[in-house]
Subunit: 162 residues, 4 copies
């Protein structure tokens, strides 16, 4: 009965043009599946763009904010959860997601992947950062899925979820 | 553009029959206003009953769970946020709510009222516990609203929100 | 083998002169017992003064900070734990204390008392706020201890701890 | 005036014999420097062994526990901070440490390294896991220090701290 929630994690700052393009399409496809999109909720980078993509396809978007107020919230977030707990909220992001998709790479994203794996959550990696793929796949061969495209990310998520 | 979220806090165990009756009607009326209902998400007491009421009126319900899994989740929660942070999640409950309604009284509920007041959030008290009303009204005269009925709670929430 | 930790909670702002006088003496007596003092760690009000008192008697002081940095830390804190989780750190304050002493009253203090009672921790109330004593004693008759002086607070803590 | 805190992070389960040997010596040397040791506080793996090492040299040890009680606490922890927030406490571990030393590798350890780097904390890596060194060094060249021995870890920590 509960709705499926797919988390998309990625850099706020330092997202590449490719990451942002992937993020927008991911958002659209997640919405089209009828899944709820979860992000870190801020108004920059992958968080912002994937939420915008989901809204363009009339999806529902949740943002788990590090702050206690609306100052840095993405305009594309429907439901804002204010945690006021900084990066510790990254653990909530992954525990709440039925599947985690990492779109791009950075320190925050790496922490979310690692916390997800610590909690035995499946993680789909969509990034050009080769070193991260090698590292995380070795860290948790059974829960890390490496994909090369947005379509493959969605197909992999379906395999995990159904 | 973001949706309005109204949090209803109340005892899990030790809710009175009157608290539960109020909770069910509160859930219905919150849903009818088009507001999202937020609770602590567990399958007991006020949390469970207010969510059931909201679903009976086709509302959307969010549960902020203290745990990391679905073991004790209310069946009437649409969107489950898993925090794995026990009662510290009470702070998220109140920071995320545009208005907090306390329906009944207990230690957990008291902590949510106090955290809300600490964060300068408006709190509406609907309870037969007279000592709590005296205490909290003195603690924060400007942010505590004492009401005698569910209808008055909703009317007060409207005054605060609009 | 683990050291005994006594938490002293009280207003940061709005502490009365009497609260601060009690706080200083409490800090001294806690240190003289060989107990570690735990506070919210900031450089104001009861937190600051009780830590100063403990250091005057060569005690060890822990501060559980709401922030992620040293900007507002009390000079009398030996060990600073940076949580970056705002008032949600109040739950850590009480879970970590073997006994909680509330010295004065305010919204933050009330949240700590309520969270302590939710976690079945003993709480000693030392305050002139009569309404809070009536409310909390009714909320949890078995875990709330009302005292009239610093000496009585320490004597009560001993009874609970040993 | 505040004491220096050095955090040592490493696997609870799946620590190698080499990790544990390093952990014990690290604990001893940290204590001999007069630094406080901070760990995740549980009674297994690197957390437990490094604390034992520190106590063998009469150091002071802090454990930041994921739980709300003493069930799984290391016997070598002097000061136990009970967070009841699961792996979200990993962020407190790193924010509270002046320097973070990773001794070994695993999902929890990787999350702590990533959270430390997100918070611009210096991280010293002491592990045979080559992929992690490549990944994290690329992620944050300025804050990641790769060392080959316990002695080198301590020397590097000194350079960072003084």
């Amino acid at each position: 009965m509960r709705k499926i929630i797919v988390g998309v994690m990625g850099p706020g700052k330092n997202a590449t043009a490719n990451d942002l393009q992937n993020a927008y399409t991911l958002g659209q496809l997640i919405a089209k599946q009828g899944w709820i999109l979860l992000t870190g909720g801020r108004n920059l980078g992958v968080m912002d763009t994937v939420s915008k993509g989901a809204k363009s396809a009339e999806g529902l978007t949740i943002g788990i904010l590090p702050s206690d107020n609306q100052d840095s919230i993405s305009s594309w977030v429907d439901i804002a959860i204010f945690t006021d707990m900084g990066n510790a909220r990254n653990n909530i992001n992954v525990l709440t997601s039925d599947v985690v998709i990492a779109c791009g790479m950075g320190a925050g994203t790496a922490s979310e992947i690692a916390l997800a794996l610590k909690g035995s959550k499946p993680v789909i990696l969509l990034t050009n950062d080769e070193e991260s793929k090698v590292f995380f796949k070795k860290l948790s061969p059974e829960n890390v899925y490496i994909v090369e495209s947005v379509d493959q990310a969605i197909a992999t998520a379906k395999t995990i979820l159904y």
